[in-house]
Subunit: 393 residues, 4 copies
Amino acid sequence: MRYLTAGESHGPQLTTIIEGVPAQFPLSIEKLNDSLRRRQGGHGRGRRMQIEKDLIAITAGVRHGKSLGSPICLQVTNDDWKHWTHIMGVEPLDEGMDESEIKRQISRPRPGHADLVGGIKYQHRDLRNVLERSSARETTVRVAAGAVAKQLLEQLGIQVIGYVTTIGGVHADRSLAEKLTVEELIERTSQDPVYTADPVASEQMVAAIDAAKKAGDTIGGVVEVRVTGMPEGVGSYVHYDRKLDARLAFAMMSINAFKGVELGLGFEMANLPGSQVHDQIRYDEQHGYYRETNRLGGTEGGMSTGMPIVVRGVMKPIPTLYKPLESVDIETKEVFKASIERSDACAVPAASVVAEHVIAWEIAQAILETFPSDHLAQLQEAVEKRRNEAKEF
Amino acid sequence: MRYLTAGESHGPQLTTIIEGVPAQFPLSIEKLNDSLRRRQGGHGRGRRMQIEKDLIAITAGVRHGKSLGSPICLQVTNDDWKHWTHIMGVEPLDEGMDESEIKRQISRPRPGHADLVGGIKYQHRDLRNVLERSSARETTVRVAAGAVAKQLLEQLGIQVIGYVTTIGGVHADRSLAEKLTVEELIERTSQDPVYTADPVASEQMVAAIDAAKKAGDTIGGVVEVRVTGMPEGVGSYVHYDRKLDARLAFAMMSINAFKGVELGLGFEMANLPGSQVHDQIRYDEQHGYYRETNRLGGTEGGMSTGMPIVVRGVMKPIPTLYKPLESVDIETKEVFKASIERSDACAVPAASVVAEHVIAWEIAQAILETFPSDHLAQLQEAVEKRRNEAKEF
Amino acid sequence: MRYLTAGESHGPQLTTIIEGVPAQFPLSIEKLNDSLRRRQGGHGRGRRMQIEKDLIAITAGVRHGKSLGSPICLQVTNDDWKHWTHIMGVEPLDEGMDESEIKRQISRPRPGHADLVGGIKYQHRDLRNVLERSSARETTVRVAAGAVAKQLLEQLGIQVIGYVTTIGGVHADRSLAEKLTVEELIERTSQDPVYTADPVASEQMVAAIDAAKKAGDTIGGVVEVRVTGMPEGVGSYVHYDRKLDARLAFAMMSINAFKGVELGLGFEMANLPGSQVHDQIRYDEQHGYYRETNRLGGTEGGMSTGMPIVVRGVMKPIPTLYKPLESVDIETKEVFKASIERSDACAVPAASVVAEHVIAWEIAQAILETFPSDHLAQLQEAVEKRRNEAKEF
Amino acid sequence: MRYLTAGESHGPQLTTIIEGVPAQFPLSIEKLNDSLRRRQGGHGRGRRMQIEKDLIAITAGVRHGKSLGSPICLQVTNDDWKHWTHIMGVEPLDEGMDESEIKRQISRPRPGHADLVGGIKYQHRDLRNVLERSSARETTVRVAAGAVAKQLLEQLGIQVIGYVTTIGGVHADRSLAEKLTVEELIERTSQDPVYTADPVASEQMVAAIDAAKKAGDTIGGVVEVRVTGMPEGVGSYVHYDRKLDARLAFAMMSINAFKGVELGLGFEMANLPGSQVHDQIRYDEQHGYYRETNRLGGTEGGMSTGMPIVVRGVMKPIPTLYKPLESVDIETKEVFKASIERSDACAVPAASVVAEHVIAWEIAQAILETFPSDHLAQLQEAVEKRRNEAKEF
């Protein structure tokens, strides 16, 4: 399974093509749109999220509610496009018109963004050519692709849920999430203004966002994704590039503004003795092998153990501040203060939805590589068989 | 550039084939062996490191000290093989001999290792079939491949160095490493018993290792890799799977026992306001664009900024403890205590060498995807040109 | 450079996303549409070609006439879609409605098509689910992707042209094409009813098509693609999967209904002595190295020699015949005669346009792997440099 | 499943690493060596084939006669290496020694070989650096990798056999091979001096080889590979790069000196009406669906139909002639006649063995992408299930 995405932030639309999806699985467009809606929510978002309501159009690969096995194409229209048709137009500029006359041309790279390096790499002197693509707007269709993966996983009894554990130095009690069923977790976090499972921390996080906003600053945070119902042995130890942990790290780190990722106890493992890090192996006839604890976050030797996969990522504060950082105009080489018109003070809640979906994608892809499958029944049977093999081993 | 590795821990040898290396670059076998030697060092290693001295044989791709452009094959012999020819032999067992009669057959999966899940996945009831490959012994040839990459990078003025920043809760002062030149850093860490740049922390780390050993326990830690001399614009923001950060995360997380990775300030970014996270952009005619700080760890928008790349990974404590964890025998289903004969109390120093080499590989690969490089001069010129384009942008 | 396509034959649209295109190269939408127009032409096409006029919409990756370096998204609307919204709809069928009530359901697999095997593989009992995607309609966006590649190659002085050399047993004199410049070849073949360069054969081919049509039969043929202006050393001998010939064979054989591919003298080489197959090497100061003959079709050792690349593919006759073949209904298991309502008698001229574009894509991709390039000037310089290195070698 | 190969023609050894092989399948080293032996046979080979007897050493991935699931490493020693240790040595030349003093340095590129273009691409002025790798010697380990694939396929009831159908204009009666069972075909061709199934043509082929040799010339030919026992639906029509035909074409064309490939009737389809090209579909309860004819060579819509796959490739005459072709010395720029000391007059029989093995590899890889296969039993069951689904469809 693989996918490509296309689309500029102020272009006509975002598009993704997903290839390699098994045939015969029911795909609900409502659930896809639910995912987009969650991505647009959360306390602390700026204006754009309120004016645009993303909706998916499926233009290929699905018929009468079921996947065909052929590539699925999803599109999300940019409502704002009507105001940008000239600035972002495909056609060459009119004869005699100079590129410098284009409105909204950008020569001032923002610190912490792709602007400057992207301009150098692709030789764009209008930095709009960079930021239109490097914008987190692209995550809309990554969420859409992940939402397809989520529905596939659902058919295998696998659930994926993302939520917030830290915002601006406020840390949720992570053990709360651990104690809830996935359904309870979905229920709780989806109603929370910052998508966290800890109601006490939630209030403090909201306050931290408001304070940052007032101070003209921004804050980042940590999101956690939990995957339950995993069959054993997805991923492999036999070659380094087949390790499931490595793939999850890749996926999480590929999200805009993410700068770290960890599984289970994560970086805390550097401070603990081995006897407090590893999970003892248990067995009973009913469950087969299991672990009472899940400190390793659901993988051993680069493979899923059957325990929930727990992976976290850290998002840096949005670099577009009201409180300006200094930068240099690429035309005049003069220092300027990178102040901006509008911005989110905190995008961590939305990022938890993105993380959920990119992890769902990665898990689904890894499962399809372990159990290559032309249609859903074949896949379901292979996964079920593995669960039995594990129990009877 | 790509590579595959093969080899079991007690098989005859480890092998790697590296394909896609530019022609005409000088390759020193001494430097390759230096890398292997460093991997075998560090305070806290067990017996095997002392009895085996890894040496590389090059069997393809190099002639008269220079790369040919054809695949490079590197081999490291397992000195111990002579004692394992029967147990690990390729030939089928003699007629009438039962598999259960094989010596050193293993039915007791160790917690925290690939043993149990690997057995389920590949249907190995002799778990030796798993652990022979899942063993960190394989990192020997990953280091060898990375050592080839390092020599290539050297020719481009890029240096990569890995060292330890945390062991068992003892944290080195990271700012010390930042203040040193790469040469000083190599000098300092290579002479340190735990490969760290902070002499005060070093003593405490040694003590922590000794204490863990005495307690029959193990400890993990954090390693940091620093890459200097990077050209701008390696990696890309245009598609999620081309982001340099994601690739570095993949590489780091693919090392045995690694459970987290972060760039720059990493997880600390969840606690800081945006104004203290991003690096302001500066310019002068001599240097072109630069940043005074390097909080983001050398990447923006998934691309190298030209600042040093700083990436860290966390290694869990070795799961093979003298202080036993409980597990279940797969034949009898009885609980046993996973005690062991011998083990390292801490492998973090060695892991810093592995991390250095897998990151070097990833950086080299990303560079070869960015610049034309059938032969070294072509690559050098392209990289130099990029540096100039960046300066003159 | 890579691309994915999506779209069913009677769905709303066809889409392709192209990732990895260098920035800053001028992209003309008129030229893209020219390619589509040529694909829809040629003597012997059925009705659909006349009622539908394919036009491209660019929805990402291009701004003001130039590539941005970000993924390019191209869409072609199916004009017919308005008649198929129910039959091919995305939404699940209304409650209580049985799948068997869907109009135009197909239980009769046509010989020579994907119908039967596709149904088995993906468990589609309505074979429409197969043929909607296996239809050659998909080549519309493969041509579109190739047309982007062609424009990129043009900027490097590389031209790609496809034309017909055999239809239904009528063989054009291939030496005629060889004697023409590319411009003359384009001129001549684009005005020919069957896109061939041999006017005498052309008349006979037209007659053969008309005769086949009258007989209720179909005919296939051979197309040739010629690539001029190639730099030396694209592809490589160092690993089998980097050979340019192999990639060209892959591309040609991946076209619907193609069953063979050959370079230069091709299969005729089995009948000739070595002295009549190989091209002697010449040199003069003005041209550098060259060959007087081009029997090998422009490659040696899996690399471009600088001579024109000449590659041919054979297309089987369209399997949808008026003169019916026998097959079996998958529901009743009864034999039926696979007669059809409408069809092309010969699609070889159109296939020559498809071949031209898939080869253009493959050449462009191979060039970008040899000279990885972020923007056009960088690519142009690298290719020019190679041409000089070849001359001065 | 993937593999890399390494090794120079006069280096110490050839190596391949094969990654992704299912666990638990019995691997016979005798059968691997049988494949190498067949590759070294056939009428018309030169001296080297007689002095070197290739034998495989397995250094990883196999234990007690069964695959472990971990990468398999195969090595073949070059017996001749002892005479080349200095000329092909890894170590840099002694201080003060000039590269031009190296023995057997080559400045005269042979027409039809990689020599000249390879030299330009990698900037090798000693063309030995090219020909050591571009030599067909490398096919030894490609055969070895394919021999592993063949043994895997055998476990699935799939057999692959390659043989000669044309040499130097002498065409075997291809229908003879079609009438034989695979066992009979193996028996017949393995005892034939030119590995063909037509005894009459065989004598003429031998005579043609002898005549070419006498004339100081060389001849090429056509080889055919037949795959029986294929399950239905391997490969796919849903995306162009998943078509089985395309992959087979890639594999065949990647063999040294191959310039064309075709399936079933191949290029002959350009001369026949559709009614004589396609295979009618039949059904009976015992066999399920089948075709009485196999003109398409076992694929429809890019997928295996269950009929035997029949694919042919054309090999050009060996370019190293006693009857010299003209070329140009790269140092002096003077014309020379590319005469040689020794050579095979015809390598087509050996090439049929290579073709058999690269096709076996490709088929095995395509099967592993279609069905779950961590271990052999899982794969066997999935393939069997597909065969039943096809029958019951």
